[in-house]
């Protein structure tokens, strides 16, 4: 087993440990903060998968750019659309 394969197995282990943390913390009453924790963990897991399993760490500029643009556009669309839904109760009432 080479070090590269071991690194991938290490990443998998981290993703599984994070899954355990996600399930575990969801049974601790923290109110709204429960979802903040579990979704933050999901972003860390996705980062690990995209960086190592999808090899973004070793990709060229173009592929990294496309991956980043996909995420940034999604966050832009989500953020700008929420400016509508988050302000419906305050504007014009």
């Amino acid at each position: 087993m080479t070090s590269g394969a071991l690194r991938l197995i290490g990443v998998w282990l981290a993703v599984i440990v994070l899954l355990g943390v996600s399930v575990g913390t969801s049974y601790i009453p923290m109110g709204q903060f429960n979802s903040v924790v579990s979704v933050t963990i999901a972003f860390i897991q996705a980062f690990l998968v995209w960086t190592f399993f999808m090899r973004l760490r070793w990709s060229g500029v173009l592929v990294r750019l496309i991956a980043a643009v996909g995420l940034i556009w999604f966050l832009l669309l989500l953020g700008l659309s929420l400016t509508d839904y988050l302000t419906r109760h305050t504007v014009g009432s």
Partner: protein, 209 residues
């Protein structure tokens, strides 16, 4: 075939097909992004109903499937790596394990759907929850079925690709000199895995405490 060979600073190793697949994957982010956005605004409108309804999902089967699919994205990454290093046999078996885990995921999901139907959690049927928040609870299960359904369709496509790669590596069509198809399949499968990474907490873990 390097698209950006003249860009200094990074290893310029993006093949044209890799770039093409990443553009497709970015469009998949938009596709699932829309579903996540729909989920976000319906949850904002019905926060309590989503908390109650989420507790009716099967957290054991959902977690088990997370374990299965997270592991399958390791085995497919190792399969692509093995082929790059010329270990065709290892690549073949790792693809076989990935395919088996994918089928297992689908089987568990079908069993879970069977249970959901049995508990009358299908929002367009005789819905089990009748309280004052039933409208929002129906919305949760509508999102649950649409999102896990869209994911299952993507996963089924991935199973087809994996089967194709398995046959190809088995008969020696894909070797160390020709890894591209297996590499791209591994990328697609990792995105199917990523979708479950996000679906899992927002569908199963909303309110467990």
């Amino acid at each position: 075939m390097s698209v950006n060979a003249d860009l200094a600073g990074r290893r310029a190793n993006d093949s044209e097909s890799e770039v093409g697949l990443w553009v497709f994957l970015a469009s998949e982010v938009m596709f699932f992004g829309l579903l996540f956005y729909g989920y976000t605004i319906t949850r904002m409108a019905h926060p309590q109903a989503f908390a109650i309804a989420s507790a009716h999902t099967d957290v054991l089967l959902g977690s088990l499937n997370a374990l299965v699919i997270f592991t399958s994205s390791l085995t497919v990454a190792l399969a692509a790596r093995s082929l790059r290093l010329g270990a065709q046999r290892a690549s073949f078996w790792l693809l076989a394990v990935t395919l088996t885990l994918g089928v297992l995921f689908l089987a568990i999901k079908c069993y879970e759907y069977y249970g959901d139907i049995d508990k009358h959690l299908v929002p367009w049927g005789d819905f089990a929850l009748h309280g004052p928040l039933a409208g929002g609870e129906r919305m949760f299960f509508f999102m649950y079925f649409v999102m896990t359904g869209a994911h299952a369709i993507h996963l089924t496509v991935g199973l087809g690709l994996l089967a194709f790669m398995l046959a190809g590596v088995g008969r020696g069509a894909y070797t160390q000199k020709n890894t591209e198809a297996v590499e791209l399949t591994a990328l697609y499968w990792a995105v199917v895995d990523t979708v479950w990474i996000f679906l899992y907490p927002i569908l199963y873990l909303v309110h467990r405490s």
